[in-house]
Every structure is written in structure tokens, then in C-alpha cells.
């Protein structure tokens, strides 16, 4: 396997979508190629830290007030 061939299947490799033999071929290349080893480590780490980003954002006080007013108005209309 060449470095280019590894790059072509990298997404499937980290997604666990390669068949066992193909996965093993990639693993052998990574273990024997420092450049690809580094690249794959930083690629997978990038994914890992992105997953760790907070899913909830902080609403500003002004926006929260605006949102509450809009929602209250809407709920008032719905029940009246």
C-alpha cells in the first residue's frame, strides 16, 4: 500500500468501514510509515476533539428575553 492509497481509504478506515484484511493492510502501512502514522494520529484526534465541543450555546440575555416574549405571545395565541 502506498501513502496515496492510504489517504484514499482513510475515512473508511477511521469509520471502521473496511473489511478486516484491508484494515490490517492499512494498519501495517501506518506502523511502518512515520508520515502516515503522524497524519492518521492527528486526523483522528481532530475528530475526537470536535466531538468534545459543547452542544449547547449560551444565549445572550437580550436574545433570551426576546425569545421568551415571542414564545409567550405564541403560547398565548394558541391557548386563547
Amino acid at each position: 500500500m502506498t501513502c496515496e492509497e492510504l489517504m484514499a481509504v482513510l475515512a473508511d478506515y477511521v469509520g471502521g468501514e473496511l473489511v478486516v484484511e484491508h484494515h490490517a493492510t492499512v494498519k501495517i502501512h501506518i506502523d511502518g510509515c512515520a508520515k502516515c502514522g503522524s497524519y492518521v494520529a492527528t486526523y483522528t484526534h481532530t475528530i475526537r476533539i470536535s466531538r468534545a465541543l459543547p452542544k449547547c450555546g449560551q444565549l445572550s440575555a437580550a436574545f433570551e428575553a426576546k425569545l421568551r416574549a415571542a414564545l409567550a405571545e405564541h403560547l398565548g395565541e394558541a391557548t386563547s
Binding site: 501513502c3 492510504l6 503522524s38 475528530i47 476533539i49 470536535s50 468534545a52 465541543l53 449547547c56
Partner: protein
């Protein structure tokens, strides 16, 4: 969004359970607070209107992602029409470094569950720098953790197209983030 389905919807509950998540997706997709606020309000009112049609919280979660993405895309389109921006062939836009370029191993604990504020800001900035078609896929896949098939449905793309864009987005994110982590190691 793990709370049981509420029997009655109060503004308080909506704020706690849904608004911050909707807002975050919209802000990351649109790249600015004002647009994200418009989308959040739009989506929240849709939640209120539709609440009695949901059977469970996971159903709401899926629906919320779809509605939020649709609202953000529509908002972006309106904005683009106003600004009349040029759009190239998206598949040719993203330049990424080949593995040949100098990369060092980046020694951050793999299990580190909480990001430092500084790290957090760097990642958000990198996401913002991705061209929109790549940013959308990256956000939904690697931040929100949605399956490729769902993302394809939301964005009108084949699974193959999602995977291809995601791979290139990840390569670009890696290019943008790796130097920062090397600095972190050095300090």
C-alpha cells in the same frame, strides 16, 4: 435532550432543552449571532406548534436537527441573494495538505473529555473557516455525531458525497488545528 417528553410545554422547558442546542447548530452553520438568533426563534416556534405530534424525545431530536438545518440553509440562501455572492464548484475549492508535509505527533490525552477554553476557541474558529458545504457536513458528522445517511437526507447529498466532503473537511480541519497543538505541546 435526554429528558423525558414533557407533558406541558413551558417557555422554561423550551429554553433549557432546545434553545441552546438549536442556537449552537445555527451559529456554527451561519457564522454569526444575529442570523443564529433569527433561526433559533423560527425553529423554536415550530417546535411549539408541533409538540403534540411527537412520540418521544429521540424523535424530537432527529426532527430538530432537520428543521434547524433547513432553516439555516434557507437563511443562508436569503443572505446570499441579498449579497449576490459568486459560487464556484464546491468540490474543487478545498485545498488540503498532503501527508508529505511536516506533521508532528500531537500529545494530548485521547480521553480528555473537556476542552480548555483556548482549545475550544481555536476549534470554533477553524470550523468557521471551512467553506460552507464542507462546514455543514463536518458540523453534522463530527460535532453533532449524526450518521452519514441522515446528513445526506438533510443536505440533499448521496452518502458517497457526504463521505467525500467529510474527508476533505477533516483534512482541512487537521491542517488548521495541528499547528496549535504542537505549540501547546511545546509550552
Amino acid at each position: 435532550m435526554v429528558a423525558p417528553l414533557p407533558e406541558t410545554l413551558t417557555p422554561e422547558l423550551v429554553f433549557h432543552e432546545y434553545a441552546p442546542r438549536i442556537y449552537n447548530i445555527a451559529r456554527r452553520m451561519l457564522g454569526n449571532d444575529t442570523d443564529a438568533e433569527d433561526v433559533t426563534q423560527d425553529v423554536l416556534l415550530q417546535v411549539v406548534r408541533r409538540l403534540d405530534t411527537f412520540r418521544g424525545d429521540s424523535q424530537i431530536a432527529t426532527w430538530l436537527h432537520r428543521v434547524t438545518v433547513n432553516a439555516a440553509l434557507a437563511h443562508r440562501e436569503k443572505r446570499a441573494n441579498r449579497q449576490k455572492h459568486e459560487t464556484g464548484d464546491v468540490d474543487d475549492v478545498l485545498e488540503t495538505a498532503a501527508p508529505e508535509s511536516e506533521v508532528k505527533r500531537w500529545n494530548v490525552s485521547p480521553d480528555e473529555p473537556v476542552l480548555a477554553a483556548e482549545q475550544h476557541a481555536i476549534i470554533e474558529k477553524a470550523i468557521k473557516e471551512l467553506p460552507e458545504p464542507f462546514r455543514d457536513v463536518y458540523l453534522l458528522a463530527d460535532v453533532e455525531g449524526l450518521p452519514n445517511a441522515d446528513i445526506g437526507n438533510m443536505l440533499g447529498l448521496s452518502v458517497a458525497a457526504v463521505k467525500s466532503r467529510l474527508h476533505r473537511a477533516r483534512m482541512r480541519m487537521r491542517d488548521l488545528l495541528a499547528p496549535h497543538f504542537e505549540e501547546r505541546d511545546a509550552s
